[in-house]
């Protein structure tokens, strides 16, 4: 298995979390979501356009987001997604878990960096 495939598996949960977080700010279409993530991560996180839609599909299937066709700012027909109540709850849960874990990962990684 290539390292790329492993990173994708690794990012799966993260991407979901980021999408939910972005939608918490309001209704958005797929293209808007990619831009929002890129912007708010100050360009550090590049969202693979190709994997965003499967993620959206998954979130919609889980009942965490709801999709509907609408018209974008520049008059393009686009599918807009918004967070459901369940999605909001999920976001809270995943976010707090992520914070806890990233702190823990930092704890684990810390000593090795300095003590090595």
């Amino acid at each position: 298995m290539s390292p790329k495939a492993e990173r994708a598996a690794l990012l799966q949960g993260t991407l979901d979390l980021l999408v939910l977080r972005t939608l918490a700010l309001g209704r958005q279409h797929g293209h808007g979501i990619t831009l929002a993530i890129q912007r708010s991560s100050q360009g550090a996180l590049l969202v693979d356009h190709g994997s965003l839609y499967p993620a959206l599909q998954r979130l919609e299937a889980a009942g965490w987001v709801r999709g509907d066709w609408g018209v974008s700012d520049n008059n393009r027909r686009a599918r807009f997604y918004e967070l459901t109540a369940a999605g909001r709850k999920q976001l809270a849960k995943e976010a707090s878990e992520w914070r806890r874990i990233s702190e823990a990962v930092a704890l684990v990684l810390g000593p090795e960096l300095s003590g090595g």
Partner: protein, 891 residues
């Protein structure tokens, strides 16, 4: 999981809908890029590239959850393969463990399947085909199984048991074929004319017997066994119409049986003959309905609507009617009844002890598999601990618990299937050897066949799931979760170490069970071997003379007188063969045939009915020396006893005890049979075995061969060799043939080979339990070693602290030793308790040892403790090498 996918399917969007969404995304991206000053063509290209393969994305969505599942499973499989490759030692040990466990089962399966589950080849609708036996309750309890009936009884049963659509009779016999140096022995099955039709077997070539051919008068016809056709007639299809010599008569070949067809048994059949050929074996094997000669075995096909119970009742009625005149039957407290058994050879009342023992060994091999699975479970657990950080990361990065569990399962499966493949490679040899051991005469030599493959796959699946269960549950319980926050402490979570300890103790317990079994069987085998048979069976051979001159006319005494002269000439030749220490001739055959002869003390009370009647056998000079039978008192026969007028006899200790409780047998005078003259007892010899080596011994009266008693056909030559008796067989055969060049097959066999089948159950039990017991012990030792190594590695810090605080190396070694021996002790206690409980199950299989033999238990416990100590040597050494400073710094 399910509700989610359900929602997915019900809310599934159309492809067009999705395509439109993708197009709108690309259009917006193009807008954005153009707005930054890019040319529209370039922007379109860049937008597409950023999206990646549109078709692939659509496909991924189109496949839905199932496609994603397959993809993620294949991802997991690849991941597992890679991580197994990265830890070659772990993988090798785990695969080897399961290969041993699965291999043990695969090895046993072929033989057990053939004995217990599979009907003989070519039998159509085998569940309606039954063997028919009769059970005769013994007055003392139990029952003797009557397997053979007379021809008259066969005809009555065939015609009067309406539940049978048809009933066939058969008899297995040996015939000599050819003469002189080309002579060979044929295994023949004599069959009634309806035999093949009843079983539903079509010949490979030619035809089966006609109803008119059953009696074997007129033209003699035979069917060849497929293997004989191949080896002796080169598979020539023009074989029909040619002849094969059977007991000196030409038999016309009318057909060839299909390949591997062995009738209702599993032994190879060289030639099939009509029932009437029986008269060439024994003069009383005749097809006379009124003859009281019991030699035919029965096999019947039930009508579709007839139950086993109905057929049994009908056959019982017919059998009782047939024997209505018998006083013996009338005196029986419980009436005899028919027994309708399946044709599978390991079932039914006549199943040999091999069947029972092999089922035991099958159970034992399952135990070995359990131990192996426990071993792999332990290894996986230990590795799980080592990788708990990785698992925690995976969990936190969005992997579901199911995914982590599935990962463990996939790893277990991969190990199991790699093990299964190794096991099959092993089984290629071991299973063949096992079949040769359990079913020595079977013609079915296929080892790797579909049923075995299916069985191995199922066993591997079970072992994989079993092995992966503990680690999967451990990860599902979130045993890894607290790890990230709390560092090392979680590694020693009590529950996980408990699981591992339990697994190790369980392994030790199972190994204890197997070792005790091995000890009991080995002791039994030793006891059986040590039985004083009254005959020194090592380096002893028999030459069967009965079969040799059978074709000659025995009806007048001149026949056997001239035959006996030939046998004496043979004896002289055999005695001159280099390597032959001694040889003698007898009437009657030890372990097989002899005649009963009433014995009465002169002036003593007449024999009451029910008093023991000794067996008589007439022996030539040097008989006792040849047999190795010890003289207890008096003298052996001398040359002067071997005269037609001599009236002397030798009795054995048992006979002497029965008839002369006062101990004054020597010199007394007895009346033998209806002889009115006095026969003098000149000596007492040790008791010799009668039939079975574990059975009754003694009760013989020996008479000189050349005396009045010896006026019958000699049946046996005994030969004592000075070296390996089996190597002497060809030389003896040549010596015998040199006397009379056109002899049929000369049957020479070492006695130990002849007795081997009797020893087989114990040999089988001893070798299998020992082999599996040692395997189990090795597996348990390895498990123990693995756990201790891990514990030492985990407790490096603690050991360092102890050493820093002044603990000696001895103390550290004691620490590790305590862990090992403690665990082993728990396992041994459980195993011993189990062995004590299970002991009575194998009690009937043992000989001369109780299932609670203290010596066997003591040796096994000692062996296990020694192994436990050995298992901890390396980890203990590692512990003593812990440098306190390094250990403390790593924390």
């Amino acid at each position: 999981m399910r509700s989610r996918s359900w929602r997915f399917w019900t809310q599934r969007r159309s492809d067009d809908d999705f395509a439109e969404e993708v197009e709108s995304h690309i259009a917006m991206e193009v807008d954005r890029l153009v707005a930054t000053g890019m040319r529209e063509d370039d922007a379109r290209f860049a937008a597409r590239r950023a999206f990646g393969n549109v078709g692939l994305v659509r496909e991924r969505l189109h496949e839905g959850p199932r496609g994603r599942w397959l993809e993620s499973v294949s991802q997991d499989v690849r991941y597992a393969v890679r991580s197994l490759r990265n830890t070659p030692v772990f993988t090798t040990v785990a695969v080897a463990s399961l290969a041993i466990g699965i291999g043990a089962n695969t090895t046993m399966f072929g033989a057990i399947d053939a004995m217990m589950f599979r009907a003989p080849a070519y039998v159509r609708d085998a569940d309606r085909v039954n063997r028919v036996f009769f059970e005769l309750p013994k007055p003392a309890g139990g029952a003797s199984i009557i397997q053979q009936v007379s021809y008259g009884a066969y005809l009555r049963l065939r015609d009067d048991v309406s539940g049978f659509a048809d009933l066939a009779a058969f008899s297995d016999q040996k015939f000599s074929s050819g003469r002189g140096a080309d002579a060979r022995l044929l295994s023949a099955t004599l069959v009634s004319q309806n035999f093949f039709k009843l079983l539903g077997v079509q010949p490979a070539l030619g035809r089966v017997f006609l109803p008119t051919e059953e009696r074997d008068d007129g033209q003699h016809v035979a069917l060849l066994g497929y293997e004989t056709w191949q080896s002796q007639f080169a598979g020539d299809s023009a074989v029909l119409g040619r002849t094969i010599d059977v007991a000196g008569l030409p038999y016309v070949i009318v057909g060839v049986a299909p390949q591997g067809f062995t009738g209702v048994e599993t032994d190879r059949v060289d030639v099939w003959l009509p029932l009437g050929a029986g008269k060439r074996v024994q003069s009383f094997y005749i097809l006379d309905p009124s003859a009281q000669s019991y030699w035919l075995e029965l096999v019947g096909r039930r009508r579709a609507n007839a139950t086993v119970a109905q057929v049994r009742d009908q056959a019982t009625q017919v059998y009782l009617r047939l024997n209505s005149g018998s006083r013996y039957f009338a005196a029986l407290p419980v009436k005899p009844h028919a027994s309708i058994a399946p044709i599978i050879i390991g079932r039914g009342p006549t199943a040999g002890p091999e069947a029972k023992v092999s089922v035991w060994v099958g159970a034992v091999s399952l135990l070995v598999l359990l131990i192996a699975a426990a071993n792999v479970a332990n290894l996986l657990l230990l590795r799980g601990l080592a990788r708990s950080r990785e698992t925690a990361l995976r969990l936190s990065l969005g992997a579901t618990r199911w995914r982590v569990v599935r990962h463990a399962l996939i790893e277990g499966m991969l190990i199991a299937f790699a093990g299964a493949i190794c096991a099959l490679v092993m089984a290629h040899w071991t299973a063949a050897a096992m079949r040769a051991f359990l079913l020595p005469d079977s013609v079915d030599h296929r080892v790797i066949e579909p049923r075995l493959l299916a069985f191995t796959a199922v066993v591997a699946l079970g072992a994989g799931v079993l092995a992966a269960m503990a680690p999967a549950l451990a990860s599902a319980h979130g045993g890894f979760q607290p790890l990230l926050g709390a560092g090392r402490v979680a590694d020693r979570s009590p529950r996980r170490l408990f699981a591992q300890r339990a697994l190790i103790a369980g392994q030790v317990a199972l190994a204890t069970l197997l070792l005790v079994g091995a000890g009991l069987f080995v002791t039994s085998l030793r006891n059986v071997r040590a039985i004083d048979l009254g005959i020194d069976v090592d380096q002893l051979l028999y030459v069967n003379l009965t079969s040799m001159l059978r074709q000659r006319d025995w009806r007048d005494s001149s026949g056997w007188v001239s035959a006996n002269a030939t046998y004496r000439a043979m004896l002289e030749r055999v005695r001159r063969v280099p390597g032959v220490a001694n040889a003698s001739l007898t009437v009657g055959e030890p372990f097989a045939s002899r005649w009963a002869l009433s014995l009465q003390r002169r002036g003593g009370p007449p024999l009451r009915t029910g008093s023991p009647v000794p067996f008589a056998t007439a022996v030539g000079d040097a008989y006792f020396e040849t047999m190795g039978t010890r003289l207890v008192r008096g003298r052996l026969f001398t040359a002067s006893d071997h005269t037609p007028t001599s009236r002397v006899a030798i009795v054995d200790e048992e006979t002497a005890k029965q008839f002369w409780p006062d101990g004054n047998a020597i010199g007394t005078c007895v009346l033998l049979g209806d002889d009115q003259a006095c026969t003098q007892i000149v000596g007492i010899v040790a008791n010799a075995a009668q039939y079975a080596i574990t059975g009754a011994k003694g009760s013989y009266v020996y008479l000189p061969l050349e005396s009045a008693w010896g006026h019958q056909a000699i049946s046996m030559m005994e030969v004592r060799s000075t070296r390996d008796p089996d190597a002497l067989v060809p030389a003896i055969r040549r010596a015998v043939q040199s006397v009379s060049p056109d002899l049929p097959w000369v049957d020479v066999q070492s006695v130990s080979r002849r007795l081997a089948p009797q020893l087989r159950p114990w040999r089988l039990g001893a070798s299998m339990f020992t082999a599996f017991g040692v395997l189990a012990l090795c597996l348990a030792a390895f498990g123990l070693y693995g756990l201790l190594s891990y514990m030492v590695a985990q407790r490096t810090h603690e050991i360092g602290v102890r050493k820093a605080l002044g603990a000696s190396n001895g103390g550290v070694v004691r620490l590790v030793l305590r862990g090992s021996v403690g665990l082993a002790t728990v396992g041994i206690v459980v195993g011993v308790a189990g062995a004590l409980g299970a002991g009575r199950l194998i009690a009937s299989q043992l000989y001369g040892v109780t299932p609670r033999d203290p010596f066997v238990f003591a040796v096994c416990i000692a062996a296990l403790l020694v192994v436990a100590v050995i298992a901890c040597l390396a980890p203990a050494r590692r512990a003593t090498r812990v440098d306190p400073m390094v250990a403390l710094r790593t924390e």
